[in-house]
Structure formats: C-alpha cells, structure tokens
C-alpha cells in the first residue's frame, strides 16, 4: 500500500473483532506517530496504552456520546469492544518552554494532531482499524486512570481489527475548498 492509498482507505472504525493487536504493530503505529512534523522538534506527545478491560471500563465511563447518544446511553460504549485504546497525551511544558503561550496550546495541539494522523495511516497500512475520539472528559479520565500529572489527555484512539468496512463518506470536491488562487 502506498501513502496515497493509505490516505484514501483510512476509515473511522468503531466496531472490532476479538482478535488482539500484536504489541509489535502497536509499537510501530506509535513510532509512525512520532515521525510527524513537530515545532522545534519538541515532540510534545506522550502515550498511555490501555489494554486491561477494567481500565477500559473506567475510560469509557469518562466518554460522552454527545449528540449521537441514544436510548439513554450517554457514553461511547462501542469503545468497550476495542482490544486496545491509545490515549494520546501531551506534556505541555515541552513546547511552552521553547515557544511560550503559543506553544502551550496551539503548537502542542497541532503537533499532536499530526502525530495522530500518522498513526491512523499506519493503522490502515497494517489492516487495523481505529477512530479518533474527542468526546471524553480529560480531567475525569486523569482521575479514573493513573495518568501522570504532567500529562494532558488529548484524544483516544480505540484500536483493533475491524469488524466493519464502512464505505467512504462524501468529501467536498477540491474546487469547493480551494477558495482562492492568487
């Protein structure tokens, strides 16, 4: 699979088989993340890997299904089927030290999203499935799991072998998103 194929084939997967994710693949996915572009090479990202089902339960309890909540269930229960959840976190001090307030939020978040994008492409490459989850309470999650105090959880990436193959959704044609050529 070449890079453009991986970009086009990446889907958000929210349903997984029971097959465990080999550690080796998980490490390669994280390593791919760490090759993302990063301001000043400060690499603000850090990862917490959740495999234990009880820990996963605590994690899911801090999620929020938002406008997709149905039947009185307000958490993202589908995550319980993911054999692994990678919590993408950041240490705010790295970027802030070098760049001040702009580093504290914006640059740190931009870096981490690049990292996540790389990870999702690697997930696709390995035939695995994942989805970015932002619907959770970072403070609650830090209380629920022993996440080091210097880390801030940014995103959850539930990961596993896909039990669904969603069709590609619509994308705006590029002529609709290129507003100006000067």
């Amino acid at each position: 699979m070449d890079t453009l194929e991986a970009i086009h084939q990446r889907r958000s997967i929210r349903s997984f088989t029971d097959q465990p994710v080999p550690d080796e693949l998980m490490m390669q996915i994280i390593e791919a993340g760490t090759w993302a572009a990063t301001s000043g090479n400060m690499q603000a990202w850090e990862f917490v890997i959740v495999i234990d089902p009880q820990a996963r339960r605590k994690l899911v309890d801090t999620t929020d299904a938002g406008i997709t909540a149905r039947d009185g269930i307000y958490t993202q229960e589908w995550i319980m089927d993911a054999p692994v959840v990678i919590i993408v976190c950041y240490d705010v001090k790295r970027m802030t030290a070098r760049y001040g307030q702009k580093g504290r939020k914006l640059m740190t978040l931009l870096d981490c999203m690049g990292c996540v994008a790389n990870m999702l492409l690697a997930v696709t490459y390995f035939g695995l499935g994942a989805c970015c989850v932002i619907g959770f309470e970072p403070d609650q999650l830090k209380q629920a799991l022993p996440i080091p105090k210097e880390l801030t959880p940014l995103l959850l990436i539930p990961l596993g072998y896909p039990a669904e193959q969603p069709l590609p959704p619509y994308r705006l044609p590029i002529e609709d998103v290129i507003r100006l050529v000067i």
């Binding site: 000043g40 850090e46 001090k93 790295r94 070098r98 210097e150």
Partner: protein
Amino acid sequence: MTIVDQLKRVGCVSEYKKKEISDELINEIVSAAMWAPSAANVQPWEIVAVRSDEQKQQFVGVTLDSHLRPGTGGDERRHWLVDAPLILVVCLDRTRAKARYGEIGEKQFGIQDTGAATQNIRLAAQERGLKSCLVREFEPGRVAEILQLPRHVQPLLMITMGFSDMEPKQNPHLELVDFLHHETW
C-alpha cells in the same frame, strides 16, 4: 556590590539558623532559574523544594561519602542536612532536554543549563541574605523515590539554604594562568 564581588561570596555554608523560609521567598529565589541560558530554550530544570523534616532525614540516609561510597559514614557526615531550613533539589526533565537534540541534549546541554540555573538560584538567595551549599553526593535513585519523581525526571543536585552568620570557607583556587588559554591549548 559588583556581580563579581557577589560571585566571590557564593560558597558553601552548611550551618544555618532555625529561621524558616517562606513560600514567597522560595518563589523569589527559584524564579531566578528562569533567566539561565538554555539550549533550544527548553529550560529543562525541575525543582523540588523540601522543607519537611521527614524528607530531610531520609536524604541523610541516602547520601554518600566524599568518595561516593554508600554506608561508609556518609550518613553522619551529612547529618547537617536535617538542620537546613530549605533544600532545593534541582532535577533534569530528561525528555524535555532530549526532545530537540537527542542524547547530547540530555547528557550535555541539559546539565549545562541546570548548572547555570543552580548558580542563578544561589546568587538570588545570597542577595536576600541566605547562604547555601551544594550537595551532589547522594544516590539519585533513592532521592527520586523520596520525592516520588517520575521516571523521566533525574535529580542532579541539592542546594541547601538558610540564614547564617557563617562566612563561606575560602577554598584554594587555580590561578588564571592555569586554565586560561589563548587561541590554542
């Protein structure tokens, strides 16, 4: 007093009065670290201020003797640590130090930066009438346990601090000609 005069007075004083050091004074003194030079501006220092007698007592138990040997009397020699009103443990955030440059950031630049921060802190303390001393002879792993440091934070040295009437001992110094070279060695 010129900066050089101030520098001459920074020396090891390890006998202190009982007078406590306030949070405000700690904040003022430790803020001086912010102006230390830092490779890539990563400011890799992390500082733990210790005033608890229990922790100071634990520190005494993990000091080494002057040849860095454990359990050869180091404990007794360092007993004065308990009487220091404040111990600042200067640590290195190894990950922050390493992010930009890799190994050299951690092993060299980070150590240089924290050394400069340490001197800044001692000068700021001196300006406020405090005397200080450096302690480096300890088991870093045990100190990390006492302070509950995460794996990526490494204790480098302790600055003990307090008010004192003692003047620092004048140690022998190399002459300038001994270490200043022009153009080549």
